[in-house]
Subunit: 342 residues, 4 copies
Amino acid sequence: MRFNNDYNCGAHPEIIKALENTNNESYCGYGLDEWCLKASDEIKKYLGNANADIHFLVGGTQTNFTVIAAALRPFQGVISADSGHINVHETGAVENTGHKVHVLKSENGKITAEQIAKEAEFFNTSDVKEHITQPKMVYISFPTEYGTIYTKQELEEISKTCKKYKLYLFIDGARLGYGLGSKGCDITMKDLAELTDVFYIGGTKCGAFFGEAVVITNDELKENFRSYIKQNGGLLAKGWLLGIQFYTLFKDGLYFDITKKADELALEIKNAFESKGIPSYIESFTNQQFVILPNDAMEKLKKYIYEFEMKIDENHSCVRFCTSWSSKKEDVSELVKDIKLL
Amino acid sequence: MRFNNDYNCGAHPEIIKALENTNNESYCGYGLDEWCLKASDEIKKYLGNANADIHFLVGGTQTNFTVIAAALRPFQGVISADSGHINVHETGAVENTGHKVHVLKSENGKITAEQIAKEAEFFNTSDVKEHITQPKMVYISFPTEYGTIYTKQELEEISKTCKKYKLYLFIDGARLGYGLGSKGCDITMKDLAELTDVFYIGGTKCGAFFGEAVVITNDELKENFRSYIKQNGGLLAKGWLLGIQFYTLFKDGLYFDITKKADELALEIKNAFESKGIPSYIESFTNQQFVILPNDAMEKLKKYIYEFEMKIDENHSCVRFCTSWSSKKEDVSELVKDIKLL
Amino acid sequence: MRFNNDYNCGAHPEIIKALENTNNESYCGYGLDEWCLKASDEIKKYLGNANADIHFLVGGTQTNFTVIAAALRPFQGVISADSGHINVHETGAVENTGHKVHVLKSENGKITAEQIAKEAEFFNTSDVKEHITQPKMVYISFPTEYGTIYTKQELEEISKTCKKYKLYLFIDGARLGYGLGSKGCDITMKDLAELTDVFYIGGTKCGAFFGEAVVITNDELKENFRSYIKQNGGLLAKGWLLGIQFYTLFKDGLYFDITKKADELALEIKNAFESKGIPSYIESFTNQQFVILPNDAMEKLKKYIYEFEMKIDENHSCVRFCTSWSSKKEDVSELVKDIKLL
Amino acid sequence: MRFNNDYNCGAHPEIIKALENTNNESYCGYGLDEWCLKASDEIKKYLGNANADIHFLVGGTQTNFTVIAAALRPFQGVISADSGHINVHETGAVENTGHKVHVLKSENGKITAEQIAKEAEFFNTSDVKEHITQPKMVYISFPTEYGTIYTKQELEEISKTCKKYKLYLFIDGARLGYGLGSKGCDITMKDLAELTDVFYIGGTKCGAFFGEAVVITNDELKENFRSYIKQNGGLLAKGWLLGIQFYTLFKDGLYFDITKKADELALEIKNAFESKGIPSYIESFTNQQFVILPNDAMEKLKKYIYEFEMKIDENHSCVRFCTSWSSKKEDVSELVKDIKLL
């Protein structure tokens, strides 16, 4: 039973079925097909923005560096939490496109409007601007790498700060569904469309075989985006495969249902640990639960595949238990039972 | 009926079935799963080289620039035919990684050992080497963009020349099956493994939903290749999807059967045009047929979707008819009949 | 006696004197000093454009790739003659910044408005724009690598074509003085300022120790240019050294006098060869003379250092004789005498 | 009277004289002249390493990114103190070449062997190496941005750590003379040649008009270095200008004399401040003195040009007083007198 991550299983059965049903059809290539159009239309219903441009890419790292490389000029950089995926888990892909990551200290994966303002002010008030990189984009993830989420108010403040300093706001939504469906989340896709310049809706971790849907609302970032996708290797020849997947996920809200369910299962795990006095490393209400396990508990739970994060001290480690759209109720129940037996 | 390209249909039914059968399983991510291993093993049976490294990427452009960026130092470039995919259809992806494409004139998509030697000699005999880029890799495609293929002798000569000048030989096999299965082809996968430093086996155009299998035989190019894949956005989270597809295609030789059949259908089209005195733009025995159609013939065949290439003169245009693993015998027969009626 | 190039001697004595005179002064760094300002003012007198931005960089290759990297987005490329310095003698510096060089065939170092229009049309009329690079800048040199120059009419046509297709026109003026001072030249600095978006005035080859003055007239290219200079290593700490040199060269027209004189000396060499029936490889009226020398003449002139270009046939080679601001009348006279003795 | 930096004055009079004396000579271009050879020979006398490769570049930023780009593969990064010049004052030039800067926290501009080991261990023990960048080079400056210097023991430990983890050790010696000449320094050029893989000897800030002499002792870094210089715009056409300057500085130890004198003058300033109870921001014995000035003292010293660094609190600011080879004894005496009057 894998609880190590949220990309260990194929795709939702509806997607398999949709691919099967269309397998005898032939389509126009490179995302210019009817399924991508239909998927965009379904997604737009949630955005409240008919003018958004929607593009379908294959994976998260690819999406991150493509969006960033498309937005920035060579002397500009992107602001990120120190724990941001682009800063720590993408083999320097952003730097490989020539851009600096402006790193902000973060305890729980989140950064604040104040921190962003300070970084922007540092540049704006510098009298040697040509010697330093200009922060021009803010990258945040929703949920973050630690499973935490921004409140609507936090996001509004960040958005306002970005507008004030002419920074693009870019949200990595690789796990977007798990954020939107989580307990206490007061943010909607419409909010994201309004508050950001560009964000993406993760498919890979949220029910699809693969795929990330990029939503661009700022006209400045729309131009030539397909050229950037192609140049960076993200333009899938059989683009309709992405369209079909996102259409399936969004036409009846399947995307939201399956991720919400995963959040609920994660909370069962969270509660089970809490009831045993095993603390969270970071408080999360989404599908990722980071807990500080004593060594003997690690041993006792070893039949479950979970992810080791780091040693905390001689007797404890931080580990991640992750649910997903594919997690089975009965598996979680078994895990919960075993936790209670600790 | 689409004859415009070889990537307009989903995947071979066996692949759909394999994906369905494994959809309830969970796997290790990023290509470290058992299916990728099994696929590699099947492919190696054709290579005669147990030490080859095999990596699965998603698409062709991505594979091309990743291989090239991994192999070259900043002052080095890659030799290509002027019509090479990396030179004309990848939005400058190679240059985007910082490398010059050394362009060689080509009439039919192929380049010769002599041309390569001349380019290498130009650098080697220069007394201002630090002012010019060093050609360090040769990129050829098999089949080429025009559907032509190299003979074994040509490839041996190119390989020998590359060894002499310490150039890496890289073959883009996006359409590899259609080359290997074509009439008159005297080359095998084993030859490719012996004669090149790195090549890839195209899946996207040859029966898979997507995927390209990179075969690296030169130890110098093996090191850290996964880092390059990740950095360039090609490391699919659910890597086993690639493994399953290639395993399905190679375990019983399906790959070779379905591409060979496509070649045969293409020859029927070729012969039909020839019998009507409609000449090929370039003589090809693979799945791509470029013919010079009179305007009225273009009109008469317009119920078929084919690809316009360029105007030849007032009355003629070069167009491409393309078969693929998904082409149906009956569709080709209908096209052939209509050609005969021209 | 060196006739091999135009950068084999220090600087004009006036420049040495100016550097000496200011050596006890202290200045603000990075080109924000009074000398750079004064130099700009002197240069602007020739431009008829008070709004031009003028920046001083150290060398030509650096200037070329900095200007190009500053102007282009990642999917855009620069058009150049095949013999263009950026294409053949800069170790792929442009590609190293991520951009493709769109190469146009040229016989004499020049390209035409028609060629440019064709390249731009190819992109504009493509229906797969996102798969190809967009030509966005035209790079020409004045004089060219072969010493040839554009006529005013040719340049006007090129400029018009660039405007029509929204291409930036960039002139590499590493040898600008030798072009402007040459017999038959009907172009002025004012014309350059009007017809281009950015060009530069070569100092290194025209009397200075080093230095190139970039003149930007297009507002789109002005923004943040100093950031690009710094990022690309061209922002000289003691920037006033550039200011002093250009001020010295331009305050009384010294720049034009010394380069014109070099052109006249070059014509003496040209005429001497012609009178002996030794043909030019390419007809040039600037300081570079390319002639086709028989082997025995090469031998007889070997006390002069000239530059070998290439073998023409068994008995002839193309060689370059180059004058410069530092060429001495008496040396040229001796060479002319020896040519006449051939 | 400028105490704001160490690059506000031309060049040592001996250099002016040397340039004058050679101004009528003509030389081979691009650093292949006899002066560069002679300068290298003089420098090698201090290195105790006849096999070192020495290259002359124009400026520090250029040298930094050229050395780093030449050493690293795309997935590799360079370790630096957070205050390192490459991290904060080069407009992201390192990232522009595609590489991540691995930032280590530092209080006084220095980093420790322990910190380096920890960063290297993090990579070495990671089980997702292909997802993260590999630190492959350590960049330190001597003296640091804060004027501090490493002891021989510290440097030996760092060197040993680098060897252990196969990291290249690169020292930015833009102010090298001021480090070597400072009170308490127990390091020599020979030590640097032994302990590093590559370092450079700053000319721009230490008596020359411009120029940095790169010393490469590791054979792996020697290959094709001239190609990297050219590609990155650092290959000065009239390379002998660099050779002459470094020859002048090193043939009789002038380099060491003039920088040592500057250090002594800086200590006078330091002592003057200390005697008034005005504390250093960071303790330095080289030419840069960072002090925490009360507002009224700032006002009283405003006839001197010094560099503002940052506000410390309402009533205090950190400012830099910098001496250099060109600082005049009498100016320092006047400043010292005025400090004493505070």
